[in-house]
Amino acid sequence: MAAAAAADREERRFAEVPRESVKLVAESAGVELGDDVAALLAEDVCYRLREATQSSSQFMRHAKRRKLTVEDFNRALRPSVATAPRTSLPFRSIKEGELFFVEDRDVNLVELALATNIPKVVLRPMVRVPSAVQTLSDDLLKYYQQITRAILGEDPHLMKSNSKMAALLPYFVYVISGVKSVSHDLEQLNRLLHMVKSLIQNPYLYLGSYVRSLVSSVMYCILEPLAASINPLNDHWTLRDYAALLLSHIFWFCRTRCAVERVLYPHLPAYWANLQAVLDDYSVSNAQVKADGHKVYGAILVAVERLLQMKALSLSQTSETGQQDAGHPGHRVSSPGLSPPPEPLSEAALGIASHLQAGGAGCPWEGWRPVPLPAMYGELYSFFGDSLAVRFSTGPEAAGGAAAVGGTEGRARAAGVGGASSLPYAPPQLGVAAKEPPPGPAHPDTARKMPQLTANLSLSPPRQDGSPRASEPAPPSLAATGLSRPLPRSSSSSSSLQRSRAPWSRASERAAGPSRDVFPKARFTAPPAVGGSAPAFAFLIGGRQMGRRCQGRRPFLTAFAPGAPTAPSSSSATAAPPAPPPLPSLAPRTYAHKLPVIGRVSKPVRRWACSHYSLHLPL
């Protein structure tokens, strides 16, 4: 046989792939090959391999090597064979049979089935959550049942990427809204939450108005006293944590900031008091709760930062249309932050005080109106201080503007270790500002035209308060203005100070113009019962007061002289950093800056003002 002889010769010259291997590979791919086909294929494979070998030598030559490497060969395969495997196939061997095979990938049959069998029904948009599933067609019903069973029974993963689910979305939402009925079963709740997550993550779904329903279900898991929580063995906290995480996820996904803005933000002061109380309790029994409290603090902080970010974003988007006139003065006023002109600064410094005072207690809690960003920022800053890591761009229309204090920066300052130089608003300027009373007439126009700008500048005081003390102890001239920040805090405890500040604040009030009115001030300036009612206290907490039990932490603190509230002008500014720990009675008036750790009030406010905001702390 000439052919056989030729084949023999061939084999001598080249390595050959025997047809058996070809057949084997084909079988592993589920194809039955005839002998002749296999032979042909084997020959072709040999040829292709030879070809690749030839061209791989080129890669070797260009790599200036003498050895041909596997990579060279892979590279040679790439241009010709589009799908040269990057990773080697996982071969496994069976010892008995001397057989090697490629391991098969597991195929999820359920997934496959679901992906193909769903009838495509064009759904009319359903806005409300259906109460029953009877209206479904047979196919859909079957599918629906299958899925719900799957969810309540097994694996919810199939919802994440299933594109055929849109038709059933309302029904799923309906299922999820049934959380109340399973509140005794943590496992089921967990599954439902996972289902929510899957729905949210499914890129093929448009949730639209169902978000609200989902949110309410999730909120239920977060807030309500679940039946499951009666049993102390149930770890319902994990569930709540997860639900909260999910909620934030939803907000982030659906870009809803209104929830945070409407729900969290207005009630923050009230809630804050509770939190503060918890955090202030250093008793051992409270340790667990306190740890949770810190968690909450962090969560709120994150939420609030996001809120600010989103607000700033939307503001900058609408700024062209709404605030044309605000544009150029804004630029004018904010730019001085970097260069001398000090007047608007001090003016604004007073601005915050004026806001706080002028707002009065009458601001309605309900009747929500969008709070302008600067105001919001100002307020939040009063809560969180430098922990607030949101930093606005200094552009004129980023209203919040004026580069909010970054976390580390704030830290350095709060610790009183003299990071003052990095602040844009330098003390000398303040001094000047102090000497010259806020020039209302000088810049009335600019200030009046752009409320958000004054607010913008109102952010600056927080920066000032740390720096003068730290770096240059008490330039006398500073005393007056240097306090612009402490002032509001103390104002709650001492009304005399308020009065003393009144003229200025009024002046700046004038200058600040409309912004003051927009600023809902009520909860800051309701001072009647110090340490009594939570809302009133909220503001104090914002100042991060600390109590006498904190001596051990002194290195981290900047203590203010005890006399501060009554004589805020000079004493607080001149007080040496290592001031003796304040007496308990004076505690509310004593300020200390602490870092992410929340300061505490000497007399822990045990009473929780609004219990429905509570954390369901185990007692």
């Binding site: 061939e10 020959e43 040829y47 070809e51 030839q54 080129q58 030559r61 590279r75």
Partner: protein
């Protein structure tokens, strides 16, 4: 000249075809820019008497056949031109169309041939048929030239469809072999050139017609006859046993789309022809007609060594026209002279006899050289001028090298380069060294005590730059990440602001040496890019790679300015001529091509290497070039005449680096065989006497003096020499990765 003397018919026919090709690919001068038809010499074979009597009719019929073909392929423009040139009216064509077609297919050939001889009628039929077939093949090359990646394989291969008895191939070939072995020695060398292309085409024909066992047997039997330097091709060929394989095989397509060029003296050619006629060996004759281009010259047959020196490329030798006819076209001769070159007073001027250039020679500008503003260049910056001044200052301290005064060599060994060092470059002032690695990184070192940024930052600039100069961030080396495949070529810009790197991932990247970041990724090559180089004045750069196209780029354009297509295989290395007007590319098809940057034309094709070319270097005066290949030989070229002027044997492995000393007196070569060798370039060029005869015929007589020219061999310690560089003071720097 000699080639066209075979008769009027040929001249006519060649003209026609030329017009056609130039029509198809007007701007593109691919390898096929010459006449694709070799049928010409064969046509008159029907005998002198025939020609005189029936010459005109026959000629017309051929013309008409071609016209018919063109029409069929909607090449109306070509039809017009052809008709105008030939002076044919439309009626005559219509009238004779069918008739001529009949002739074309060969069916009615007998009627046209008054000569009774069997052989001649046979041959004329063959020649007719082949002209038709050639016309079929003709468009294909032009398509390739136009940048089409895959020429129409079917068209290309269909030339193989005519087949004889497969069993007879053996007989035919051995018959021819016997004949060639029996001819006089002087002819034997020339005629044995036929073996290789003939063998290849016969084998392919067998494969194409599915005679697998016969083809294998054929291969086995005659495998050893060819020159040893075709071994690589033959190995590829031997793997090819199925018709299906032929479709994707690039080597094969190269064979098909280009004609293998042979240079044979008239006497030898007549011998061959006569033999084939006597033996009625039309199978072989067919192949010769269709797939070979035989460049006939008058005069003495060349000797074996002469032939060997020039052959070896994938497509045979370069046609003489390729290296000559172009000169008037570009109107600028290749010789060019930098100011520097004036140093070489000892060197005789290579003059082209046709040009009376010597009289008007001025000190500043060689009239032969292209004008200095021929290639637009960005203006010199102050820093460039400073650098030029520095360069001149250094030049005054330059060591004068020569036979008795060899340069010192400083070798930079890359230790622990496990990533695989693939490319190295030095800046012109030798202050920086960059290495390209197989792990896709580029590393830059400062080889002077200055740390990296310090030498690079302009201190007068504003304070932003001072930050970059911060001492803390300074370092002796920087790593540039960006490529996703091995970096095969790197090149510093002359002003040391930029670095180019090309990679397997198909991109060329431009890096800033101020910020050490990637500035641009030039995407154009779809396949690995093997080499890239900045022009001597910066701004432009050239790249070439697996896609067989060299591209000219400007740094501020993301698309190439020129594409140079024509090589039959990967472009393995690219270099700029010192005057920036030309680029030279070396390729795996074992040819070197010189391209005019301005027009994009291929102005020289240099053959002679027996392996892929991996190193190229111009002499500083731009007149000469050295090339190194995997065959371990360094060839010296006179670019002006397009001829080989030296063959330096000594290396035993691939030559990866070549460099002339600053004044062009010494040539250094670095190789995979772990040696640096120095050659006396001065002597090699000095001895040179290019007479008229050599210049016109391209018959070279290489002096066998490569051992005399070898000035020194310097072994490294198991370190292949990847790069060589002469500092401005003529210290030789070499670099390579230690390879334990």
């Amino acid at each position: 000249m000699a080639a066209v003397q075979s008769g009027q018919i040929d001249a006519e026919e060649e003209k026609e075809i030329k017009s056609e090709t130039s029509n198809d690919a007007p701007r593109n001068n691919s390898s096929n820019d010459g006449r694709p038809l070799s049928a010409s010499p064969g046509t008159p074979s029907s005998g002198g008497s025939v020609k005189s009597s029936s010459g005109t009719t026959e000629e017309q019929q051929t013309l008409l056949a071609v016209l018919q073909f063109l029409k069929k392929n909607n090449l109306s423009e070509s039809v017009e031109i052809l008709r105008r040139e030939a002076g044919l009216s439309e009626e005559s064509e219509d009238q004779k169309g069918s008739e001529s077609l009949g002739t074309g297919t060969g069916s009615g050939a007998g009627t046209k041939e008054p000569t009774p001889g069997d052989a001649s009628s046979l041959l004329s039929r063959v020649s007719n048929a082949s002209s038709a077939a050639a016309a079929v093949a003709a468009p294909a090359p032009s398509k390739v030239g136009a940048g089409d990646d895959r020429p129409d394989v079917n068209v290309v291969l269909s030339a193989y469809s005519q087949q004889g008895d497969p069993a007879l191939y053996d007989v035919y070939y051995s018959g021819l072999k016997k004949f060639i072995e029996s001819v006089l020695d002087c002819h034997r060398a020339e005629l044995s050139q036929v073996f290789y292309p003939l063998f290849v085409h016969m084998y392919l024909e067998l494969v194409y017609n599915n005679h697998e066992s016969e083809s294998k047997a054929f291969f086995e039997k005659f495998n050893g006859d060819q020159e040893c330097y075709y071994g690589d091709d033959l190995r590829i060929l031997s793997g090819l046993t199925k018709r299906e394989h032929m479709r994707g095989n690039e080597t094969l397509l190269d064979f098909r789309t280009s004609k293998f060029v042979l240079r044979i003296s008239r006497d030898s050619y007549q011998l061959l022809k006569r033999h084939l006629q006597e033996r009625q060996n039309n199978q072989i004759w067919n192949i010769i007609q269709e797939h070979l281009y035989i460049d006939i010259f008058d005069g003495m047959p060349r000797s074996k060594s002469q032939i060997d020196a020039m052959s070896g490329s994938l497509a045979g030798e370069a046609k003489r026209e390729a290296n000559k006819a172009k000169e008037p076209e570009i109107e600028v001769p290749l010789d060019d002279e930098d100011e520097e070159a004036e140093n070489e007073e000892g060197k005789p001027k290579k003059k082209k006899p046709k040009k009376d250039s010597m009289g008007s020679k001025s000190k500043k500008q060689d009239p032969n050289a292209p004008q200095q503003n021929r290639i637009p260049l960005p203006e010199l910056k102050d820093s460039d001028k400073l650098d030029k001044i520095m360069n001149l200052k250094e030049a005054t301290k330059r060591v004068r090298l020569g036979r008795d005064n060899l340069p010192s060599i400083c070798f930079y060994s890359f230790l622990n380069a496990y990533q695989g060092l693939t490319a190295v470059d030095f800046t012109d002032d030798s202050s920086l060294i960059a290495g390209g690695y197989a792990d896709s990184t580029v590393r830059v070192w400062s080889v002077t005590p200055k740390k990296l940024h310090l030498s690079l930052i302009d201190k007068e600039s504003d304070d932003v730059l001072e930050r970059i100069m911060d001492e803390k961030t300074a370092s002796e080396s920087k790593i540039l990440h960006g490529h996703s495949g091995p970096v095969y070529g790197i090149s510093f810009s002359p002003d040391r602001n930029y670095l180019l790197s090309c990679s397997e991932d198909g991109t060329v990247r431009l890096w800033s040496l101020h910020t050490f970041t990637c500035l641009v990724g030039y995407k154009g090559h779809n396949y690995p890019v093997w080499d890239t180089q900045f022009s001597p004045y910066g701004y432009y750069f050239i790249s070439g790679g697996h896609d067989r196209v060299a591209r000219l780029w400007a740094t501020d354009h993301y698309q190439p300015l020129r594409m140079f297509a024509g090589h039959l295989a990967d472009i393995t290395c690219t270099r700029f001529h010192p005057n920036s007007n030309y680029i030279v590319t070396g390729s795996s098809d074992r040819t070197i091509r010189l391209w005019d940057v301005l027009t994009g034309n291929c102005v020289r094709i240099l053959t002679g290497h027996k392996g892929p070319i991996h190193a190229l270097a111009f002499s500083p005066n731009g007149k000469f070039m050295a090339s190194g290949a995997t065959d371990g030989r360094v060839l010296l070229w006179d670019i002006g005449h397009g001829i080989m002027i030296g063959d330096l044997k000594g290396h035993t492995d691939t030559i990866y680096s070549l460099k002339f000393s600053r004044d062009g007196e010494i040539l250094a070569s670095g190789s995979m065989d772990n040696t640096v060798r120095l050659w006396d370039a001065f002597k090699a060029f000095d001895d040179l006497e290019t007479d008229d005869f050599t210049a016109t015929t391209g018959h070279i007589h290489l002096p066998e003096n490569s051992q005399e020219l070898l000035l020194g061999t310097y072994m490294t310690k198991s370190t292949p020499v990847i790069h060589l560089h002469f500092t401005r003071r003529n210290l030789l720097l070499a670099a390579g990765a230690y390879n334990p």
